[in-house]
């Protein structure tokens, strides 16, 4: 089984999907993310899918579910790095990934989250 590692960075959980995920690996990731969210109370989930070349309806729905569950657990989900070909295919499949924020790069995703999670905190420390 290819376990996608979940990193914790402050209030965020970050997972970088590095290889063509099998269905079982994807489900495993979902379970561990939910468990992490519950355990840590993290406020954001960042999923880097920049290496994913094939995002089909199964994975698409899974991402939707991850975001929906995260929201109920008080966290926002950002999907980073959807490839253009993947985006077009998703649209043609009729999947919109509503309820999911997206960002082009990790930098963009982190910047957006920083705005949402801790602008005040950052300003006080003279950052960003």
């Amino acid at each position: 089984m290819a376990r996608v590692p979940i990193l914790r960075l402050g209030e965020m959980l970050i997972a970088t999907v590095l290889e063509d995920l099998r269905d079982t690996d994807a489900l495993d990731l979902q379970e561990r993310l939910n468990a992490s969210l519950e355990r840590t109370g993290a406020q954001a989930v960042l999923l880097d899918v920049s290496a994913v070349e094939t995002l089909d309806s199964f994975l698409g729905r899974l991402l939707n579910d991850i975001a929906a569950t995260a929201r109920l657990l008080g966290a926002v989900t950002v999907i980073v790095g959807i490839q253009p070909a993947v985006a077009i295919t998703l649209v043609e499949l009729g999947l919109e990934l509503r309820g999911v924020q997206t960002a082009l790069t990790m930098d963009q995703g982190l910047a957006r989250l920083r705005q949402r999670l801790g602008t005040a905190r950052q300003a006080r420390h003279g950052r960003g």
Binding site: V80, I82, P84, V86, A87, I88, L90, V91, E92, E96, L97, T102, A103, L104, T105, Q108, G109
Partner: protein, 153 residues
């Protein structure tokens, strides 16, 4: 002969769907003419490639030049919007006429989540605000000095 025709067709296609970088992180896409499936696909591919190349965060879709917005065209526009969104962009649609707006409402097309403005200028203003930018009067006042001609900036 056949390749020449194909080449011409592609050139015309590219000319009809220019993606313009109006500012850092802001792209504008004036859509002129009708939108069929093939053109939507080509335009979307070009748009997404430019989004990545410029790391843009906002796309202003200008439909002033689209004469008829029916269900099919609206569907194609929404497909472009969705695709750009998946790449992290916010999409604003500008150039909506009152007639088009009425048509869309009448057709029951769901545009919730799609921000629209009547003109490109208004769209640009919103885009600037979204990026935390604003246009303010220049401290030194108006600058009417002639620019040296023939220089590429």
């Amino acid at each position: 002969m056949a390749t020449e025709l194909a080449e011409q067709r592609r050139t015309i296609s590219e000319l009809q769907t220019p993606v313009i970088q109006v500012w850092e992180r802001i792209l504008a896409l004036p859509v002129v003419g009708s939108l069929d499936t093939a053109r939507t696909q080509e335009t979307t591919e070009t748009l997404l490639d430019r989004i990545i190349a410029t790391s843009s965060e906002i796309v202003i879709l200008d439909i002033t030049g689209v004469p008829v917005v029916d269900t099919a065209v609206a569907k194609h526009l929404l497909e472009m919007v969705t695709a750009a969104r998946l790449l992290g962009c916010e999409v604003l649609i500008v150039g909506l006429s009152a007639r088009t707006a009425m048509t869309l409402v009448h057709l029951g097309i769901d545009l919730t989540g799609v921000i629209t403005r009547t003109t490109l200028a208004k769209g640009l203003e919103l885009a600037f605000r979204r990026l935390g930018l604003e246009v303010v009067p220049r401290r030194g006042g108006v600058d009417q000095r002639p620019e040296p001609a023939g220089e590429l900036a």
